[in-house]
């Protein structure tokens, strides 16, 4: 039953991918197709990264309305990058290979996140307190990143100003291949842990009783989440509510919380939303750059409704 529903999600994803590649095709076919294929690759990668990261974070924190961005993880990536600029100086930073830059920001990010979020996730305090703390940490990191950026070079803070919303229209290409490898590796690791995740969803006491090394598992999964968020933030910018939206949809569609179904279903729906939404906006409304804002708006409303209806499984 759930498996059959999974095929619906996969079909939706394939359909939007096909539409993205072929709608309104004209001119030099090879050129257009190559351009679109590269964009599509980035979109699929971001979709998979966000879907998997959200599912993992929701499972280890034990609630279904959390996304990595609500906890301020994407802001942490920006902060990591600005701290790196601060440490190396603008010129030294610009001289680095983008992959080295990314790795440096990633390491800074993992360091801070493990120090800040691990105690928060371990404590498993009241759900709303944890969410509020995460949201405030996000504001704190974002303001710190913008503060440090201004300290580095008061005239050149545009780098950060431009990335308060995700932009799916123009994808930063220099990290594409590198990010692809990372995303694939993380997705495979998460997939191999799917049965462990099913057990972890029962909560720490039950999971430890069933033989899971809770502390190690949470740390490992948190690092996976961070890498995935870093990849998607580096490629398109911060995306707050997409994960919430797609995981909630995947759960409704498949009617199960088993990770063997939930992980691929969320990824497929994320691909469908991003590729499909981008296609429709590009050809229907001619304003493709605003998909990020629309996802934010709709996702925010969904989040408010979930909060107000006391939804807290």
């Amino acid at each position: 039953m759930a498996e059959r529903r999974l095929w619906i999600a996969a079909a939706l994803a394939l359909l939007s991918v096909a539409a993205f590649l072929t709608w309104g095709l004209r001119g030099n076919l090879a050129f257009v197709l190559e351009l679109r294929a590269v964009k599509l690759l980035a979109l699929v990668q971001v979709a998979v990264a966000i879907a998997v990261a959200t599912v993992l974070l929701q499972t280890i924190s034990g609630n279904r309305i959390l996304t990595p961005s609500i906890m301020g993880l994407d802001a942490l990536y920006l902060l990591g990058q600005t701290l790196l600029v601060f440490a190396l100086g603008g010129l030294g930073f610009a001289g680095l290979d983008p992959r080295v830059r990314f790795a440096g920001a990633l390491l800074t990010m993992i360091g801070i996140a493990v120090a800040v979020f691990l105690p928060l996730l371990r404590a498993r305090r009241s759900l709303y307190l944890m969410l509020l703390t995460g949201a405030l940490l996000g504001i704190l990191f974002r303001s710190l990143a913008s503060l440090v950026a201004r300290l580095v070079d008061p005239n050149d803070f545009a780098v950060l100003q431009g990335v308060s919303y995700a932009n799916f229209g123009t994808v930063r290409g220099d990290l594409l291949a590198f990010g692809l490898v990372l995303t694939a590796a993380c997705a495979v690791l998460a997939w191999r842990q799917r049965h462990v995740l099913d057990v972890m969803a029962l909560g720490p006491e039950a999971a430890i009783g069933l033989g899971i090394d809770w502390g190690r598992a949470v740390t490992g999964l948190l690092v996976l989440v961070i890498v995935l968020v870093a990849v998607s933030t580096a490629l398109v910018g911060p995306v707050v509510f997409l994960g919430l939206l797609v995981v909630a949809l995947a759960e409704r569609l498949t009617g199960t919380q088993r990770h063997a179904v939930l992980l691929p279903a969320s990824a497929c729906i994320a691909v469908a939303v991003l590729a499909g939404g981008q296609t429709i906006l590009q050809h229907g409304f001619g304003g493709a750059a605003t998909l990020g804002v629309i996802v934010e708006f709709v996702g925010g409303l969904v989040f408010l409704i979930l909060l107000a209806s006391g939804h807290k499984r």
Binding site: S126, T133, G300
Partner: protein, 327 residues
């Protein structure tokens, strides 16, 4: 800390602290007057007097007025929502005001500042009223739910504002309203802020009624207060104060949250006694953060919105995690 207010007695006596606090505040203002790129001692007397009168004094006065206004707006908003963790930036008031300024600028580009101000007030009124209506449905046993709801509510309005700005090619202007900054304040550009003083005075006049509102609807009505009318007046004060801030300097986060919480810890919850402290504290915090923004990377400036984003979020986290969290 629960959803209902806890009435505390003052922990610090006012007789000794009041003069000290006033001196500190005046020292901050003096520092704000003396810091700037132009060196007052080098210039001729007439020129340096002009620098002070045209740029420094208006800037300091604007910071004092905006800070006092926002702190009072935060206090009133916490009274109306019966939750200590909301303020105009967290309940969507400032974001709605920004929406109003944007709409006014798009639809009526030649509007005088008073026109923009009225549109911003109107949208701020609607945005805050919707927020207050929505949070009435939230369970009062979850005090952290309301600020979380407010933050996301503000985020949704911001997404709407960004969408409109994007469509209308106004994205570059957006930052002016979304990130508060006093660097543009000169003589002739801030005078509308004096309305803040009148509204703070109005709040002071209503202090006793507002204190009763914190007891809740039934208790207020039992004590002979027209509860709904007080809600409307309070809403109006909050909306006008926020709209004034957004129109003149742009959004400034967290002032309305930090100051009333700190004052409540030190001075208790009888608004007749604490209101002047809240106003003074808000003014001092704003002048101080503006000063920090000017000194951190002298001679460049960092907008106060950024500074208060860091300071405010850190303070809020401290309120949540500290021993005080339970009141």
């Amino acid at each position: 800390m629960t959803g209902s207010p806890i009435t505390r007695k003052p922990a610090v006596s006012g007789r000794t602290t009041a003069p000290v606090a006033l001196c500190l505040f005046l020292a901050l203002c003096a520092a704000s007057l003396s810091v700037g790129v132009a060196d007052l001692s080098l210039e001729e007397q007439g020129a340096s007097l002009d620098t002070v009168l045209i740029s420094r004094l208006p800037r300091t006065l604007a910071a004092v007025l905006v800070g006092a206004g926002l702190a009072i707006a935060g206090l009133i908003m916490q009274t109306l929502a019966r939750n200590r963790f909301v303020d105009p930036g967290i309940g969507g008031t400032e974001q709605s005001a920004a929406l109003g300024v944007l709409l006014a600028t798009v639809l009526w580009p030649a509007a005088p500042i008073l026109g923009k101000m009225m549109v911003a007030t109107l949208t701020a009124l609607i945005g805050t009223a919707v927020f207050l209506l929505l949070v009435r449905r939230l369970p009062p046993t979850q005090p952290y739910l309301m600020p979380l709801f407010g933050l996301i509510y503000g985020g949704v309005i911001t997404a709407g504002v960004t969408f409109i700005a994007w469509q209308m090619d106004f994205l570059q202007y957006l930052d002016i309203w979304m990130n508060g900054d006093f660097s543009g304040i000169l003589r002739g550009r801030y005078e509308i802020l004096w309305a803040t003083a009148a509204l703070v005075a109005l709040a002071w006049w209503l202090a006793d009624a507002l204190t009763i509102v914190t007891l809740g609807k039934d208790a207020s009505i039992g004590l002979g207060l027209d509860y709904e009318r007080m809600m409307r007046i309070g809403l109006f004060i909050v909306a006008v104060l926020s709209a004034l801030t957004v129109v003149v300097v742009g959004m400034i986060p967290f002032v309305g949250l930090i100051v009333p919480n700190l004052v409540s810890r030190l001075r208790g919850d009888n608004l007749r006694g604490t209101l002047p402290w809240v106003a003074l504290g808000g003014a001092a915090l704003t002048v101080g953060c503006d000063l920090i923004g000017r000194l951190l990377r002298y001679p460049f400036e960092i907008p106060i919105g950024t500074i208060l984003g860091v300071v405010g979020a850190a303070c809020f986290l401290w309120f949540l995690t500290g021993r005080h969290a339970r009141g």
